[in-house]
Amino acid sequence: MSARGTGGANGTGAAIEVEQLVREFKKGPRAVDGIDLSVSPGEIYGFLGPNGAGKSTTVLMLTTLLPPTSGTARVGGYDIVRDGAHVRASIGAALQEAALDAILTGREHLRLQATLQGMPKAERIARSEELLERVGLTEAADRRVGGYSGGMKRRLDLALALVHRPRILFLDEPTTGLDPQSRSALWEEVARLAHEEGMTVFLTTQYLEEADALADRVGIIDRGTIVAEGTPAQLKAEIGSPTVEVVPADAGEADALAGRLEGFGTLARNGRGAVTVQLPGGESQLAEIVRALDQAQLKVAALQLHQPSLDDVFLAKTGRKLEGAGDEEQDGDGPADGARGGGRGRR
């Protein structure tokens, strides 16, 4: 029996390092199309993108459940292809579904996980109790998971990922479907893990506020490529200026509206007829815009001023808003068709 989890050499010291990672599926587009990223130890890295962007595919590759088509990645200092077993020993993962057994109790889940990770019996028991307490499931520990609420399941999922005290944690859309209270509680725990225990967290999400609230750095992925990367503040600062979104009262006047506004800044248009213009001069340009529209006798149905958000970053980089962007794609996030990695739905 070999010792595990002691890590390999990694010159840069990054916890996760990805170089030109690609994943192609048969009869489909490239789900991940040559991404580069680097996550420092103890950092919370938010991987933000719409459904179908390639977030879950990336996570499946980094957690060794899906082999990449090309490119390299090192997690915890180990190559994901050559040293898969070591990678798995170094990481914990809570993937897109809670992936629990409805017939087993919470405590049984933890004991099973601890056994499979190779913990001695006494330690299994102690560690299970510790984690149950940590995630607030001690009272429900002997109830079958089938009776747990969504929030409880997610907490158990997180606890299971932490059983063997990994240094790197992968969370794939951990708060999808949770109520606001459960979501906040999970955010608190993730932040605590990173800030107090120095855990590296790779978090995928399609929620702007989640990336904004939790992540030290954010990588925005769309259609398999990273379109922007930086701290939330940096990314928003790149966009810099506020934007104004104008919806014409008569959809047929959208072109005329765009023509009138293009002198104020960079334009973007969406399929619903709205025209968005960046205001490099700031909010003070708003009055000029109103005057210009009035002079041109262009009637507007709505006019809204936006401060930059990560959605604006996405919009600026891709020409689409993050919300609803994934609905344009054929399927949910993750492999479009074909393998879902590990044990799911291989065809």
Partner: protein
């Protein structure tokens, strides 16, 4: 690359200065194969016994058919050449095979559910070996098969069926029926690993049931008048499984029937478990 913030820099510095791997957690010894099998088997057994409907229906349905057919086909013993036993004695072998089918479906459905729910991925992230996962999953199936076989034998004895091969024969009967169930459980696992859904596993169930009918389940092969049916029954391995079990009940110690019964049961186990093992390797894709 975006310049690192202070916190990131501290993290990197700490990692570099410690000259320790940035990813390593606990240094844990990989559990032995036996430990892994034991853990998975324990889960399989717990799951099985907590889903009582999965235990009760496979017990009751074959016994119901046994009760009905054992009586309804009683006149068959008047067919010239029929063995000199009651039809009920003749028919007792069938529940053991039908029960094995239910074991197959249950084992397969359980595994398919793990795949569909993503629990399989969770297991894949541990050091668990594919062979241990397969062996452990089938552990629960084997236990159910033991319980079923004991019940069928008990009901048979209680309704007046005599075991021609005696107490030792009854033990051999139990061993054979459990081996058969294990082989079918491997088939269930193979279907689950190959197709990944419970529906696919259950969709095969009628097909498996058909193989029991197209055999010597209802009449000895030499008394089947319809030529094509007799041919099919002769080539159907299920016939030999049934005849092996049946020989212990109505004949005593029939070396040929037992050799064929155990032989086909072993072949079934080897084939299904080999293919299931290959399918496991294919599904448990980890780098």
């Amino acid at each position: 690359m975006v310049p690192r913030t202070g916190r990131e820099a501290v993290g990197v510095a700490a990692a570099s200065s410690a000259a320790a791997p940035v990813g390593g957690g606990l240094a844990l010894a990989e559990p032995s194969l036996l430990e892994q099998v034991g853990a998975v088997a324990r889960r399989s057994v717990v799951r099985t016994f907590r889903q009582r409907a999965l235990l009760i229906f496979p017990l009751i349905f074959p016994l119901l058919l046994f009760a009905i057919n054992g009586s309804a086909l009683g006149a068959a013993r008047k067919i010239p050449g029929f063995p000199d036993v009651s039809y009920r004695d003749f028919a007792l072998a069938i529940p053991f095979i039908q029960g094995a089918l239910f074991v197959a479906v249950t084992a397969g459905t359980d595994l398919a559910r793990d795949i569909e729910s993503g629990f399989f991925n969770r297991l894949a992230l541990t050091p668990l070996r594919g062979s241990a996962l397969l062996a452990g999953q089938l552990g629960g199936a084997v236990l159910v098969a033991c319980v079923q076989s004991l019940v069928y034998l008990g009901v048979g004895l209680a309704t007046g069926v005599g075991i021609a091969s005696g107490f030792l024969g009854a033990l051999v009967l139990l061993a054979l029926s459990i081996l058969i169930a294990f082989g079918f459980a491997g088939l269930g696992a193979l279907l689950a690993l190959r197709f990944g859904t419970g529906e696919a596993v259950q969709g095969f169930f009628p097909l498996l049931f058909v193989t029991i009918f197209l055999s010597s389940s209802n009449l000895p092969r030499n008394l089947i008048k319809t030529d094509w049916f007799k041919e099919v029954a002769t080539y159907n391995p299920v016939s030999y499984l049934i005849e092996g079990v049946r020989s212990l009940i109505i004949t005593g110690w029939d070396g040929e029937a037992l050799a064929l019964g155990f032989g086909f049961a072993l072949v079934l186990c080897v084939l299904t478990l080999s293919f299931a093992g290959a399918a496991m390797k294919n599904r448990l894709v980890r780098t």
